[in-house]
């Protein structure tokens, strides 16, 4: 069966189904239109979205403040006791703020420090490699479409799959240790050494996400008019100068957008790392979202108040980053 025949078969089934389904709403919507009038019916079109936003986004935002200021291990709001800022105090009490072990909630601070280091290194190296890759893909090469999709492919894989792929490669008797042994080196138990585990968590996270940022930077590079380069060539500007004075400044808006996007995503990293290392060894790769998840849901007793207070602090960081993003977007639109 050709793809055309397949397509017409699909639409032959799909179109009547779609029409029948949409037809179901014809009468109620017609009735509503007569009652409400033509412009107020817009609210009816908005209703499903607003109800879902309301239930699963706005209500939780308000409740989050409530949870953050109440204590106990009960999930039901009516069973919880008001404790004021105690949850925040508990999280923020430290003898020495530079030493997580001296803190009341040492795991929280460990997670904060880890997240800070992780985000700095992951975002820094990821943007560096994305930029190089975008520049290479923008050069005169054959099969650009193919190579572009090669770098993009891991972006589509699920975090669990990504983690399992690398877990298999990095395991004690994995292929990487196989290579080390064949080179005459001692095998390393990658994920049980704190430093190596941290390295691999960053590496895997870059592996999984850099394709997305490469794509955005590539789109930015392709938007730079070619005649700018021709002019530079006429003036026999050196390659470094061309890059430094033309490519980089013209790419700056995209770089900033990519930077903020990567920061927002990086701060919320959870899935791959949770499956790859589980935050271990010890708490060497524990990040903030995993701390929130474990405090609220997987470690007994479930401290919802502490988890909500930590979420709120994460929310403030994200809010600042998102405002920066909106500001940058506006700036790049205005030129």
């Amino acid at each position: 069966m050709g793809s055309g025949a397949m397509g017409s078969l699909l639409s032959g089934i799909f179109t009547p189904l779609f029409a029948a389904f949409m037809g179901l709403f014809e009468r109620p919507m017609g009735w509503a239109q007569r009652r409400l009038g033509q412009s107020k019916i817009a609210w009816l079109f908005l209703a499903p979205n607003l109800i879902i936003f309301g239930l699963f986004t706005f209500l939780p935002i308000i409740l989050n403040f409530y949870y953050a200021t109440t204590g106990g291990v009960k999930i039901l709001p009516e069973d919880r006791v008001y404790v004021g800022a105690d949850n925040f105090k508990e999280l923020l009490t430290c003898d020495d703020y530079l030493n997580p072990n001296s803190c009341n909630k040492d795991l929280f601070w460990k997670a904060v420090f880890n997240t800070g280091l992780f985000v700095t290194l992951q975002v820094g190296f990821m943007i560096f490699f994305s930029l190089i890759t975008a520049l290479v893909l923008n050069a005169e090469i054959r099969a650009r479409g193919f190579f572009r999709s090669v770098f993009f492919y891991p972006v589509l894989l699920s975090p669990v799959v990504v983690a399992l792929i690398w877990k298999w490669i990095l395991q004690r008797e994995g292929i990487l240790n196989g290579w080390l042994t064949s080179l005459g080196l001692d095998p390393i138990i990658w994920l049980l050494s704190a430093d190596w585990a941290f390295f691999w968590v960053i590496f895997v996270s870059i592996w999984a996400h850099m394709g997305f940022y490469t794509l955005i930077l590539l789109a930015g590079l392709q938007a730079i008019p070619k005649d700018v380069y021709e002019a530079a060539e006429m003036d026999s500007a050196s390659a470094w100068r061309t890059f430094h004075r033309i490519t980089l400044p013209l790419l700056m808006p995209n770089m900033l957008v990519v930077l903020v996007l990567a920061l927002i995503k990086g701060v919320q990293s959870f899935d791959e790392i949770f499956v790859l290392t589980g935050g271990g060894p010890g708490s060497a790769t524990l990040l903030i979202v995993q701390y929130i998840y474990e405090t609220g849901f997987s470690v007994q007793p479930q401290l919802f108040g502490i988890a909500a207070a930590a979420s709120l602090m994460l929310a403030i960081v994200l809010l600042i980053l998102t405002l920066a993003q909106l500001w940058l977007n506006r700036k790049s639109v205005d030129g």
């Binding site: 699963f56 190089i132 479409g145």
Partner: protein, 354 residues
């Protein structure tokens, strides 16, 4: 140093082809081939490994292809016996099956003459190997691991969530792009505001809401909270703004109802934007992890991602089945990508959403 950076830059920034390939081209292609190796290699390695039997997976260092030792059925023995080639001694060149190993001696038997036992030093024999595909890694998933249930759970959640999201988001986008009504700006601003609130920061209260609605351990608890994505509303609204209002005015002249205008005119004309959004929704939902992890705690409600995670968490990981399951989980997305890659990559480059 300066000259080195400058030559490195010349290959990164040149835009005009020169006569014939020079060393910067080689560097470019070298980088790209390294990329192919790094990006595809791990997936290929996992796929090849998933065809190895449990015994082959324990071999260290691992072989690249699924080579395994041949086993033969020998009369008088219940289990198949591993086959060896004898390398030294009076039996050199023969292929014998091993019954058991005692210290540095192996008790062996000639499959053609099962009556006689032969003792061979363990260093005088090498395993006879050939490429075998352990399909049982895959068939086990269906027989022992109720793979189809997880697969169905994932398909159901992905399909339902995508359909509901397209429907709700397109309705909202229609209202926000084609009507002038009081409060329109307020709604828009509210939707912009929700862009900033990922589920990660409202985990506890969102869990409570889902629990109160009785949707814990139900696929609907996973489907509904994410059904109204602000990104989707925006993408569709921007697209619908480009549809001329004259079409709607003409339809109203013909006494078409507002609902009919929505599904007969606006939806078909928004098909390209809907398709992009559908692809994203499928990817998001198929790969979703944290929220399902919180909502679904009964293993029979698990999605594929949760099932994979819980199997890998077992103390004695059954890698041969786990790898097969990993491959089956990445297969649908890989196929979608293989057919739609141009569409996906341009869609992302244009909209900047992931």
């Amino acid at each position: 140093m300066a000259s080195r950076t400058s030559t490195a830059m010349s290959f990164l920034t040149r835009t005009r082809g020169r006569n014939g390939p020079d060393w910067t081209d080689w560097l470019c292609y070298g980088y790209l081939l390294l990329g192919v190796f790094l990006m595809f290699g791990p997936v290929i390695w996992v796929t090849l490994s998933s065809f190895k039997s449990e015994a082959q997976l324990l071999e260290f260092p691992p072989t690249f292809l699924p080579y395994g030792q041949i086993s033969v059925e020998v009369e008088g023995y219940d289990d198949a016996l591993p086959l060896f080639e004898i390398t030294a001694g009076e039996h050199a060149g023969k292929r014998l099956a091993q019954i058991r190993r005692i210290g540095i001696q192996a008790q062996m038997v000639d499959p053609a003459d099962p009556g006689e036992r032969i003792d061979i030093g363990i260093n005088d024999r090498t395993p006879v190997r050939e490429m075998t595909f352990a399909w049982s890694n895959y068939t086990d998933l269906f027989e022992k691991f109720s793979f189809m249930r997880y697969f169905w759970n994932s398909v159901f959640i992905t399909a339902m969530a995508t359909i509901i999201m397209l429907l709700f988001n397109s309705m909202a986008a229609f209202a926000l792009s084609k009507y002038r009504f009081k409060g329109r700006m307020t709604v828009l601003v509210i939707i912009i505001a929700t862009l900033m609130i990922p589920v990660t920061i409202v985990l506890v209260p969102a869990y409570l809401v889902v629990a109160k609605l009785g949707m814990l351990n139900s696929p609907w608890g996973v489907i509904l909270p994410g059904a109204a994505t602000p990104t989707g509303v925006f993408l569709l609204r921007q697209y619908m703004l480009t549809i001329p209002d004259e079409l709607i005015d003409a339809a109203r002249m013909d006494h078409a109802s507002e609902w009919k205008i929505y599904w007969r005119i606006i939806l078909p004309l928004s098909a390209p934007a809907l398709a992009v959004l559908a692809i994203f929704a499928i990817m998001w939902r198929w790969n979703d992890f944290l929220w399902p992890l919180i909502v679904l705690s009964e293993s029979e409600k698990f999605t594929l991602q949760l099932a994979l995670n819980s199997f890998q968490g077992d103390l004695n990981t059954q890698w041969h089945n786990l790898l097969a399951m990993t491959v089956l989980t990445l297969l649908p997305i890989t196929l979608v990508f293989a057919f739609l890659q141009r569409y996906i990559t341009t869609g992302i480059a244009n909209t900047g959403i992931k």
